[in-house]
């Protein structure tokens, strides 16, 4: 059984690994960026530390060696190479594998682990051998430097005071001090002054603080790393000083040390004062752990990001769902209140009702906002995907992301992952040509896949474009004819042709690779996007490449709808696909010889009579309305009695009982407490097509 702590650890480690991956990919682009190197190191260090703490010793050991390598990298002693990044990425995968499999250790691929480890150790060994040589050269010099290393020796003043309750977290400060001691030559002074007298002492409290003078070549980061796990549980001040330069001379250092111990009675103030004196040019007293920035930090304002991580808490999404549900209820109750208030004409009640209305709306906004996440969390995964794919396929592809800060409902982001993987695979596999072909075509050798997100009204547009070969309309058409999807003589618009690639089993790839070409994929993409009430659009040109645009609703809980009425019942049509509303009078019905088509500005548009479809028998009014919607590139009309207007609706599921009802995607509660059904017009249209085909078949049999 995994207990809660382990679960939390696994969750955290998974996050860290994701960060690690992002940082590594960033590092590949700027191998010299010390900030990023520090990020990688920090991720590794935290993974090592916490896995050790939770008993994942194998991971801790594994990570230790990698960390060693990156320690050298950080110190500028080993250079970042593509191989090292590859290796570390593989190691990251291995760690995540270990995380999952650690319950069942036997399945772990030990060989791979060993292989990776050996590679890392080789790097270290390689470095050491090189370093030894340089050391020899250095030591050959007459000067008796005992601290022979690439980094200059510096003296640090450290003041370390753990909080009283430090023992509760299971930390033993003495171990930290010992660790510190290993870094270099040190003078350590413990201050026992705040220990209570015996009669009132609480043995579980820590009353000791330390003052340390440390002479090391490891740099300030190494010191900070010692305290990395208890940063928020102690007062830590680190100052670098060259005032004590004379101490660099080893003899005087020892002298000073002796002097200190001889005088034994050191004023607490003495070192603290010194410390304060040198603090002015020093890094912040408290180092925030939240340096583990998100991948998108580059695009979004840095400060923003940090404050976000600093003040965030983890809440299970169930709780958020419940909150959104409750707010949804509140919205409907509030609508009723407004109605009643309007009837009573009592100014006091009106005032209160308006107040409630205002509050409800802001509550609703913020409740929905809590579910919003920046889409960048998914984008970062694709960098790795593109990298691996391009390597596998022998192509050169770079990925550019834009608008990673665009926010979307969490559920949508989660469900967006798979479709995006499919689309991006297609881009890299089919879209981007091999470097040779690209050069011939006069394009740069490196292909570009661009992933961008932007908000437009109540929708988010996710655009995936490549600068590859584009789609060949004739090939698609020929293939579709062959598959019997269309007739050879059919006249199709460009968008209709491109829509064909989303048919099930459709693939024009001449070769089936293990990346794509089996014809599953794009239809899955389409279905997934449609289930999110999104729309896919494809634009392609054989010179500039393909652009796939996904138009997605901001949230699933609330939809923008067009409220219509048939007889006594209200229905909601999703507004996103609706293009216009036109009138349908009896004359037009006779004009079209009772066929369900109407002439709109010279174009013939078929329509579905919802009244007939739903078996509503009441007398139809003389003038009806047709709502024209764009369904898969075809305009289709839906006949209703009356169009009532736009309506923001809180989507409710119809539950178990009605789960298989066709053409209805849910229900919503109106201001007056009645229920309006939300229509799934895609479903209604496809059912109608099938229905009519059946009718025709039956007729022909007769």
């Amino acid at each position: 059984m995994i207990d809660a702590h382990r679960k939390a650890f696994i969750e955290e480690a998974t996050e860290l690994l994701a960060q690690l991956e992002v940082s590594l990919l960033e590092l590949e682009n700027n191998p010299k960026d010390s900030e990023v190197i520090a990020k990688v190191f920090r991720s590794l260090h935290t993974i090592k530390g916490s896995s050790g703490m939770f008993g994942y010793d194998d991971i801790a050991m594994f990570t230790h060696d990698i960390e060693n390598v990156y320690d050298h990298v950080r110190n500028g002693e080993i250079n970042i190479t593509k191989e090292l990044i590859d290796l570390t990425l593989a190691a990251g995968d291995q760690i995540s594998f270990m995380l999952v499999k650690s319950e069942d250790a036997s399945q772990l691929d030990d060989n791979l682990t060993k292989e990776i480890l050996t590679s890392f150790r080789n790097i270290i060994a390689d470095y050491n051998s090189r370093n030894n040589k340089t050391n020899e050269i250095k030591t050959a010099k007459p000067a008796g430097h005992s601290f022979a290393a690439s980094k200059p020796v510096k003296t640090f003043l450290i003041y370390f005071q753990p909080f009283q309750d430090i023992f509760l977290s299971g930390t033993n400060p003495v171990n930290l001090i010992k660790e510190l001691k290993d870094l270099g030559d040190s003078i350590i002074l413990a201050d026992f002054n705040s220990i209570e007298s015996l009669d009132i002492i609480n043995p579980e409290d820590c009353g000791v603080s330390w003052e340390i003078i440390l002479k090391t070549n490891k740099g300030i980061d190494a010191i900070k790393d010692v305290f990395i796990f208890i940063e928020d549980q102690c007062v830590l001040k680190i100052a670098e000083t060259d005032e004590l330069k004379k101490l660099k001379d080893e003899k005087s250092f020892t002298d000073f040390k002796n002097l200190l111990f001889e005088t034994s009675k050191i004023q607490k103030t003495s070192i603290t004062e010194l410390l304060e004196k040198y603090q002015h040019n020093e890094t912040p007293a408290e180092i925030k752990i939240n340096k583990k920035e998100n991948p998108i930090s580059k695009e979004s304002p840095e400060s923003n990001r940090e404050s976000e991580t600093a003040s965030s808490i983890r809440v299970s999404s169930d709780k958020l769902d419940e909150l959104v549900n409750l707010v949804g209820e509140l919205v409907t109750v509030q609508a009723r209140l407004s109605q009643i208030a309007a009837k009573t004409n009592d100014p006091t009640i009106n005032l209160v009702s308006e107040e409630v209305e205002r509050l409800t709306w802001s509550l609703r906004e913020s409740a929905l906002n809590t579910r919003m996440l920046p889409i960048g969390t998914t984008f970062s995964k694709f960098k790795r995907l593109v990298r691996d794919l391009s390597k596998e396929l022998g192509k050169e592809v770079q990925i550019i992301t834009e608008g990673a800060e665009t926010e979307l409902d969490k559920t949508i982001i989660e469900k967006l992952n798979d479709p995006l993987v499919h689309i991006i695979r297609n881009c890299v596999d089919h879209g981007i040509e091999s470097p040779q072909i690209r050069e011939k075509a006069g394009k740069s050798k490196t292909g570009t896949v661009k992933l961008s997100a932007s908000q437009s009204g109540g929708n988010v547009l996710v655009e995936i474009s490549d600068d590859g070969a584009g789609m060949n309309k004739d090939v698609i058409k020929a293939k579709a004819v062959k598959m019997g999807l269309i007739n050879e003589k059919d006249e199709l618009s460009d968008s209709q042709i491109y829509a064909l690639v989303f048919s099930s089993g459709f693939s024009t790839a001449a070769q089936v690779t293990n990346v794509s070409g089996r014809g599953v994929g794009m239809d899955v993409v389409k279905r997934a996007i449609e289930s999110l009430r999104g729309v896919i659009e494809v634009k392609s040109s054989q010179t500039t490449g393909t652009t796939i645009t996904l138009k997605l609703p901001l949230t699933l809980a609330i939809i923008d709808g067009l409220l219509v009425r048939i007889d006594d019942d209200n229905f909601v049509l999703p507004l996103s696909t609706i293009e216009e509303c036109i009138e349908l009078n009896k004359k037009e019905i006779t004009n079209s010889h009772e066929m369900n088509v109407i002439n709109v500005r010279g174009k013939i548009i078929p329509y579905i009579n919802l009244r007939e479809r739903f078996g509503i028998t009441a007398k139809r009014p003389d003038i009806q309305q047709i709502v024209v919607a764009d369904i898969k590139g075809n305009k289709t009309g839906f006949v209703v009695d009356q169009v009532l207007g736009q309506h923001q609706t809180v989507l409710k599921s119809l539950g178990h009982f009605y789960k298989d009802v066709k053409g209805i995607s849910g229900a919503t509660i109106m201001g007056d407490g009645t229920i309006a059904l939300i229509l799934d017009i895609n479903d209604i249209t496809s059912n109608e097509e099938i229905h009519e085909r059946n009718m025709l078949e039956q007729l022909s049999i007769k």
Binding site: N325, G328, E329, T332, V333, D569, R613, F614, G615, I616, K652, S653, L654, G655, H656, F657, Y658, K659, D660, V661, K662, G663, I664, A667, I669, G673, T674, I675, A676, L677, N687, I690, H691, R693, N694
Partner: protein, 171 residues
């Protein structure tokens, strides 16, 4: 059913469908509502009356008269919707049962409930937990979980799909 359950005294809510009195375990009854406007869901069988708004939740309503093969429930002042909690599989679902009138809550010892007769009730025997006698009338105690069980729901879905059945064969 083990003995301890058999000897328990349980409370049952009784309601009337046409002329017969039925009972359900009060533990499964959530509330009783006056008749409200029911929104019909198109293309569903007749006994599924539609959905109502129960304080912000969408709750399906079933016409019990039609469900048990009697003629459809006429709306009167006494018409009620009994909201019950039903276990379907592992999930608890809330369903409204449209009945002609609600009678009372009465107590009966489990041992006084007789097993359902195999014939004569016009109902599927698995719907009936037993027969109780109260004030000289027989009360049919329903196993409400079974009435709305998933098999029953499947039947519902089959009728829903009846119209589109051919299409699934074709496609």
């Amino acid at each position: 059913m083990d003995n301890s359950v058999l000897n328990e005294t349980k409370q049952y809510l009784t309601f009337k469908l046409t002329d017969e009195v039925f009972g359900v375990d009060v533990a499964q009854v959530r509330e009783i509502l006056d008749y409200v406007k029911i929104t019909k869901v198109p293309q569903t069988p007749e006994f599924m009356k539609g959905v109502i708004n129960l304080r912000g939740s969408v709750v399906p309503v079933v016409d019990m008269n039609l469900k048990f093969g009697m003629s459809s429930t006429e709306k009167t002042v006494n018409t009620c919707i009994v909201v019950v909690e039903v276990k379907i599989g592992d999930e608890t679902t809330v369903i409204g049962a449209l009945v002609d009138s609600v009678q009372e809550v009465f107590e009966i010892e489990s041992k006084n409930i007789e097993p359902a007769p195999k014939i004569g009730t016009r109902l599927k025997t698995e719907f009936i937990k037993g027969m109780g006698k109260h004030n000289e009338t027989f009360i049919i105690i329903l196993d409400i979980d079974k009435v709305f069980s998933s098999e029953e729901l499947n039947l519902v879905q089959n009728t829903v799909n009846a119209k589109t059945n051919e299409e699934t064969l074709i496609s």
